[in-house]
Amino acid sequence: MKDVAIVGVGQTAFVRGYEGSIRELAFDAFKEAMLDAGLTSKEIDASIICSAPEYDKQRTPAGTIAEYLGLNPKPTFYIETVCSSSSSGLRVAYSLIKSGLHRIVLVLGFQKMSEISSADSQERMGRGSDVMWEAPFGTMMPAYYAMHARAHFQRYGTSSEDLALIRVKAGTYGMINKKAVYQKGVTLEQIMTADVVSSPLKRFDCCANADGASCMIVADKEMVKSISKKPVWILGLGAGTAPITMSGRESLTGLNCARVAAKEAYRMAGVTPQDIDVAEVHDCFTIAELMAYEDLGFAEPGEGKALIRGKETYIEGKIPINVDGGLLSKGHPIGATGGSQIRTIVLQLRGEADQMQVKNPEIGLVHNIGGVGVYGNVTVLGRD
């Protein structure tokens, strides 16, 4: 159904150590999206602000940001699902519009990960898992994804070199993305010989922290007629969850939250994985991209490795994935990431992705995961 569309997108460059406040960071993405849509603050009916609050010094940042962007006295809401916060924000924007409560809703995701000291950051890292039952053993995000990698290797014969091929691809496209924090290519040898972070994952298997913001403007179909040159329609929205504890999981070879979300998004959009022309997946770690190939149905379980070995996820391949460099090259400013992924697909569907452009895509998909597969959002987008 073509009822709700994205009519404007914006993103700051993702950088290390942004030298400004969170409100200024938010403004940069907001400005780009507003210019893109050709709108002014007065025309926004409601705003949804997304970040992971453990990195914010400002309590309840939605209020501060709404004020700075000139969005008072219209309503604003704060939405959080850690790394998938801004795609959750899009889901809420869709429902606000579909219900008729609002006609134009702005979704702004941001994160200034350098807002807190590295000591504070290291302390917070230890509390990302269940604090009663798993954090007391000394857990970290890379270690959990590493456990998934190990389980996948064992069951399906996937190797560290398969994961390295995913990182090589991310480097290839990171080099042509001016907004990426890491705009350098890396060789297979560099990746394979890098220091181990949490076995079997090594340094280049992990995305970099960054500061950044993203912004999407969402409108109903009547408003679309008066605003946008090229609307991108929200065709399908899927969301799922899984237990935060590893004990509660059926298997570690994929993310069930993503499978549930994908099924729902495909059903709502009335499409199959074969209909997707370009996709962005949540590659916070190389293994996360590989599992996404399978969880989204681009490959059968265990066969994700064939896609990357055959370069099928490059621009020229069967299903181009993360051809903007992904989180691995762009960086991962938690609250901004989902909006950045959605922006990439919007630009692809409008034919405005420059060097990263895939040939004439009609349907795109975004897979955005919060935590270690705790929250999953899959969004299917289509052009006019």
């Binding site: 857990t139 970290m140 590493a146 456990m147 590893m246 509660g248």
Partner: protein, 137 residues
Amino acid sequence: MGFERFGIVSFASQTKAAPFVDYLDKGVLAGTKCKGCGAFYFPPRTDCHHCLSSNMEWSEITGKGKLISYSTLIYAPTGFEADLPYTIALVEFENKMKVFGRLSKEIKEGEITIGMELKYVVTKLANDRITYEFKKT
């Protein structure tokens, strides 16, 4: 009270599941079993989301453990640095009870294989703290 004694570093003190630590003191790793519907839980919980009963009993984790997956950390969060490197693991016991914890440092890295048999052992730490780890059977 008492739950803050569990683990290398504790992040939680107040929970109705605090008797978990009393069982550890006796050398027993326990989950809970719902008296209403018979559901087993690990990690233990004091409320059953299946039948909404809060009438639970403690139940020892039994049977041979089987290693599902693991990873050895080279970097650690605050408070765990002195332990590096250490290996976290997920182990499945009888009744499909999956238990998260650490592998004993007695197990050499080259000896670790997915599917290997493991048992749990309660370990006393400094400052009256207590935890469990997995060892070879």
